[in-house]
Amino acid sequence: MPHELSSAAGFEGVPEELIGHHFSSLGRQTEAMRLGMWLFLATEVLLFAGLFCGYAVYRFQFPLAFQESSRHLNISLGTLNTLVLITSSFTVAMAIHYARTDKPRAAALCLILTILFALGFLGIKAVEYAEHFREHALPGKYYAAEAVKVPGAAMFYTMYFLMTGLHGVHVIAGMSVLSYILWRTLQGRYSSRYSVGIELGGLYWHLVDLVWIFLYPLLYLI
């Protein structure tokens, strides 16, 4: 029988169906779930790699258009969005911390804060999109903005909408994962003995924040 790493005593009160029949101990299963989640995060990284690759190629081919167009983005809203997402990443980390130290109420509060920050992020994004639609700074053949006439500007906005769009979809997915976890936390499911569920949700949200940390300078600043 594999060596029991964590003390046997630590598992009282853990619901029966949590340990798969084929896992010898809870420690091994948590480790498996973490490894599984990180593999899933690797696929998300490579999903965005496709878009970053497009951005790199077109920035290389149309440097003037990319610089001109990125100056016409609303930098203050972009920075605000970055602060919102970083703080949401902080609150989700605190939520996991509270769950692990048996304070489910505080954990639930942090999760609600995180979801509100996410909604705030989407709201700010919606304001920016509305502005783009008004000044016709739209991707591909819909591009007719007067501000930037350099060829290749349409390509910048194609990349802008593809990247922020896909990131937005991931923010929405992250919010639904967080609200599922919020519901589980309110049920008192997570404790210092079993907290892998909230950890995995937190990992996904941190990845969404990681992607934005790279998107923000590439699109708004340079």
Partner: protein
Amino acid sequence: MRLSESDSSALAGAQRHLSYLEDGTTVMSWLNTRDHKRIGVMFLAAVLFFFFIGGVFALALRMKLLQPGPFLMDALSYNRLFTLHGVVMIFLFLIPAIPSAFGNFVLPLMIGARDVAFPRLNLASFYIYLAGAAIAIFGMVHGGADTGWTFYTPYSSTTPTQVLPILLGAFVVGFSSILTGLNFIVTVHTLRAPGLSWMRLPLFVWGIYATSIIQILATPVLGITLLIVAVERVAGFGMFDPARGGDPVLFQHMFWFYSHPAVYIMILPGMGVISETVCAYSRKNAFGYKAIALSSLGIAFVGFFTWGHHMFVSGQSTFNAGAFGILSMIVGIFTAVKVFNWVGILYRGAIAFRTPFAYICGFLYFLVFGGMTGVALATTSLDIHWHDTYFVIAHFHFIMVGASMMAFLAGLHYWFPKMFGKTYPEGWGLVAASLIILGFNATFIPQFLLGNFGMPRRYYQYPEQFQALNVASTAGATLLGFGLLIILIYLFIALRWGPRCEANPWGSKGFEWMTDSPPTTHNFDEIPTITQMPHDYRTHEAPGVIGAA
């Protein structure tokens, strides 16, 4: 109280002697199963079904090519046919075949685990595969795409045919591939039996592990690429639109970043099966075990560096062509090392010539022939004449239909007693194997010559001088199709009325033969402790359960 080991075995005591096939025979018990063995069998059935459909498309194409002019069908349906032949054969048969069907069934048995790491995820990946296949079939029924399985833009984003369902079908099937890969990596990392170190893992597990790495790291890039083309078709703006400065060659970069490692997804599990069966039938330990295992990982990683050799003449820069050319040579080495080591296994072995062994010979011949033409293609200057001609088609069919399908058939026959507890008729097996090997050569060697002659691929009508070779190729194709039909028939008969066989008919010392066949739902009564390498035939002692506690 925590579920201790002894309790679980008492729990399983009731169904101790019920094999996984008899343990619940309602349809729901199959559709809602968590058992990796049942999911493996369901994948096998789905995969064989799509192999049959792809095969029918292939024969239809070959029939049309009997005549240089219009014959049997118009240009558009011919283009749709070869697109669907490509999509079905690659996304719905070759990529899931060995990893999802045999990998699901045999991997947990080989590492002494009761099941894969995430059984529910395993079932979800089967249903995602079916959903993707359903979307693709919906597209096929509504006419199907005429873009070729490579979906090159700007043709794929401007053609009026039904490209969107096929794109989304491939996108969804990609998820199933990712989830299977994820499941296997975590299983191998966390669920190995005690005493089973990395250097004692069976070579099939190495093959599946390397394949899963590729599935995890390559499939998302295909996902995003197909998504962007779908957005371009639906919303009208796209990253690859040449009128806006978009770069069609960028699509090819991102597509082949997935599709070249995908061809290694198709061949690596096949190499794993061959490593197992060569050891089993020559009753010999794996000669150069470390070399074969590490070259599987080598192929998995270096395979990501070589996608540019699909684009030597596509407007890619000369510098890049050189870089990709050298790296393609390096990835070719790992296959060469494996072939030499497989032949080394036969030295001083006790070779029993059974049907799977006939498939092994076919596999080695086709892998060497196909692999060397691949190396010849990678010498950039020869590729200029050969690219997008029938030479390339013959090259990848030698590897896909030749090597990978031969390995699939070898695995199917080798594990048929393990999966279903029945034996297949040996005589018919050898007849079918020789028919297939003969038919295959007659189909694809003329295509090599067509390629040399200069016939481009995907040609509905071709200049007259190519007709003779095309007729020869079609004749070979019918023979190949006939050979495969014989297999289908005698395997089905063996499944229904075949004689039951004993637990280890081949006397193989692979770890998966430690349990009885077909195995019980919980695989092992006691998780075995592994104390030696697989396929160790120095002692004669009956290959029963090794080191059971």
